[in-house]
Amino acid sequence: MTEQKERELYFWLRLVREFEGRVSMLDKQGKIQGGVYSGKGQEAVVVGVCHDLRPDDWIFPLHRDLGAFLLKGADPKRLMAQIFGRREGFAKGKDSFLHGGDFSHCIFGATSMLGSTLPVAVGSAYKFKIRKEDRVAIAFFGEGASSRGDVHEAMNFAGIYKLPVVFVCENNFYAYSTPNELQFAVEDVAVRGPGYGFKGDVCSGNDLHSVMKAAKKAIDRARGGEGPTYLECKTYRYHGHSEHDRATYRSEEELVTWESRDPVERWEVYLEKRKYDVAAIKAETAQRVKKIVDEALAFAEASPWPEGPEAMEDLYAMPIPEE
C-alpha cells in the first residue's frame, strides 16, 4: 500500500467518525427529528469494504452505514440535508437518512425491515450476471437480520446462480438489546455460507487491514464469477441501537474492552509504526473533515423544508390523474 493510500484510508475513517459524531451531537441538541443510528466503532467495516469499489458497483447499506454513503461518493451536503428531512435530501424530506438512497452513486435506500434489501441486491446481481456486466452488489446486514427469511431466500438464490454479490454481515453482538446467544446457536454466523454453496469468511471488523483483506477476496471472487461470499465482520457499536437507547443491557467493561480496539486509533498506531508524521496527519485530517462536515451542516440548515402538498408527489412514475 502506498503512503497516499494509507493516508486516504485514514481520512475516510476520520470523515465517517466526524460526520456521525456531529449527527449524534445535533441529535442531542434536539436539532434532528427522528432516529439516529450511530455506527461509531464500526467505521472500519464500511471503509474496508467500500474504499475500492467502482462507481457502477451497487451498495445496499443498512441503517448504521452512513459511512458507506460517503465512501460511495454521496454528496455530504445532500446527505446532511437528507438527515434533516429537507428538500435537498435524497428523499426530498419523505423519509429520514437510512431509507433514501442515492441512485446517481448506486446507493440503495433500505427499509426498516432489516434484511429486506438482500433479495433486491441479489436481483441486481442477477442482472449483472446475465448481461455479463463487470459489476458487483454489496449487501450489508446485521447479525440480527441474519435471522430473517429474506436473508435465507436471497442467499439460497445467489448460491444457485453464483451471483456477483458479497453479503457483509456487521456482527456487532446486539440486535437492539438481544445478544447473539439469543439470536443464533452458532459462534460465527458466516458458517451458514457453505450451507448455501458458497464461502463463509470471518474477519475482525475493528481492524481495517483485516476487513480490507477479506473484502478484497470476496469482491474478487464475485467479479471473477466464483459467486457470493458470506463475509462476517465482528465489530461493536459504542452507542445504543439508536441515540435514545442507553444500552443498559451491556456492561461498561464490555464497552471499554471494545473501545480499546478502536478502529480509528488502531489505524493511527499503524501509521505511527510506518514512521509517518502522525501528529501532522491527524491535525491536517481533522481540519479537512471538520470543513466538510461544517459545510454539510450549513447547507442542510439552509435547505428549505418541503411544502406540505409535496407529500403527494413521487408516488408514481406514471401517475394516473383523476379526471
Binding site: F90, G100, L315, M318, E322
Partner: protein
C-alpha cells in the same frame, strides 16, 4: 382469433418478451413446467432460462429480486403460483416496491408486475381461492388490475409490463378456460386506470370487476324487462376510475357494488363511501353490496357456493335496489 383468458395472458407475455429484451419472468415452475396453469407455456423454449427463471419456493425473493432487476433497468414479471402465496411476498410489495420511488424522492422507478391466479369457484379451498386486492388497495404507490375478459387480460397485462410502477395483476382462475372470445390479431393495449362501460342503462349502476362481471351481465340481460341496468367493469382497482363511476351514478341515482372478495374491508366499502360523500344528492336508494360472506374460502361444494356471490344473490340485490 379465438382465445381463452389464459391463452390471452400467455400471448401477452410472449409478445412483450419478444418486443423488449429487458422483460423477464421469475416464479415457481414457470419454466420447465410452463406454469401450474400453463400461463407461461412456451416461454422457456423461446426466451431461454436466463429470462424465464424457475425460482426456489421463495415469494419474498421473487418480488425482491424483481425490484433489484427493476432498479437495473429490467422489467420483471413476478409470478405467484397461486395469488394466495402473495402473503409471503407482502413485505417486498408494500414496504419495498410501493415505497421505492417515494422514499428515493422520485429518483427510482419500480417496473414490476406481480401476477397470479386469484379467485374462488373451483373448489380450491382456503389457500387456493383468495381475492387479495383489498390488502393492497390500501397502499399508495401500487396499481391493481383485475381483468374479466380475454381482451382485457391481454391488453392489461401488456400495459402492466410497460408500466413504470409496480402493478398487481389479478387473473381469475375460474375464467382461465371458461372464457373464449374473439380478440384482434395485432397489437393492442388496455390502458391502466380506465373502467369499461359494459352495458348502458338508466335505472341503476352495477359496479363490478373480475369473475362476477359475467354474472352481472347475465342478470342485466335476464332482468331486462324489469330493470335497465348500467354495468361498469372497473378493470383497474387502484387507482379507481372515479370519473366513470361518478358519471354513471349521477345519471342512474342508484349503485350496487358486486365483488367476489369478502365484504368486510373490501373495495366495495371504499366505493360506497365515496359515492355517499360526493354523490349523496343524486342518490335515490341505499348503496348496496354483494360480496363473499365474511368467512374463509371453504372447500366443500355447498360451503363454497354459500360463500361466494351467485346469480341469485345478485338478482336479489338488484330487485331490492330497484324497489326504491
Amino acid at each position: 382469433m379465438q382465445v381463452t383468458y389464459i391463452q390471452a395472458i400467455n400471448q401477452a407475455m410472449h409478445e412483450e418478451m419478444a418486443r423488449d429484451e429487458n422483460v423477464l419472468i421469475l416464479g415457481e415452475d414457470v419454466g420447465i413446467l410452463g406454469g401450474a396453469f400453463k400461463a407461461t407455456e412456451g416461454l422457456l423454449e423461446k426466451f431461454g432460462s436466463e429470462r424465464v427463471v424457475d425460482t426456489p419456493i421463495a415469494e419474498s425473493l421473487i418480488v425482491g429480486a424483481g425490484v433489484g432487476l427493476a432498479i437495473q433497468g429490467m422489467r420483471a414479471i413476478c409470478e405467484m403460483q397461486f395469488i394466495d402465496f402473495i402473503s409471503c411476498g407482502f413485505d417486498q410489495i408494500v414496504n419495498m416496491a410501493a415505497t421505492l420511488r417515494y422514499r428515493h424522492g422520485g429518483q427510482a422507478s419500480c417496473p414490476i408486475v406481480v401476477r397470479g391466479p386469484c379467485g374462488a369457484g373451483v373448489h380450491g379451498g382456503i389457500y387456493h381461492s383468495q381475492n387479495p386486492e383489498a390488502w393492497f388497495f390500501h397502499i399508495p404507490g401500487l396499481k391493481i388490475v383485475a381483468p374479466a375478459t380475454a381482451y382485457d387480460a391481454k391488453g392489461l397485462l401488456k400495459a402492466a409490463i410497460r408500466d413504470d410502477d409496480p402493478v398487481i395483476y389479478l387473473e381469475h382462475k375460474f375464467l382461465y378456460r371458461r372464457i373464449k372470445e374473439e380478440i384482434p390479431e395485432g397489437e393492442f393495449i388496455v390502458p391502466i386506470g380506465k373502467a369499461a362501460l359494459r352495458k348502458e342503462g338508466r335505472d341503476m349502476t352495477v359496479i363490478t370487476y373480475g369473475s362476477p362481471v359475467h354474472a352481472v351481465m347475465k342478470a342485466a340481460k335476464d332482468m331486462a324487462s324489469e330493470v335497465d341496468i348500467e354495468v361498469i367493469d372497473l378493470r383497474t382497482l387502484l387507482p379507481l376510475d372515479w370519473k366513470t363511476i361518478r358519471t354513471s351514478v349521477t345519471k342512474t341515482g342508484k349503485a350496487l357494488i358486486v365483488h367476489e372478495a369478502r365484504r368486510n374491508g373490501g373495495i366495495g366499502g371504499e366505493i360506497a363511501a365515496r359515492i355517499a360523500e360526493e354523490l349523496f344528492d343524486f342518490l335515490d336508494g341505499p348503496i348496496l353490496r354483494v360480496a363473499s360472506r365474511d368467512t374463509h374460502n371453504a372447500f366443500a361444494t355447498p360451503l363454497e357456493e354459500y360463500i361466494i356471490p351467485n346469480q341469485e344473490r345478485i338478482t336479489e340485490a338488484i330487485r331490492k335496489l330497484a324497489s326504491y
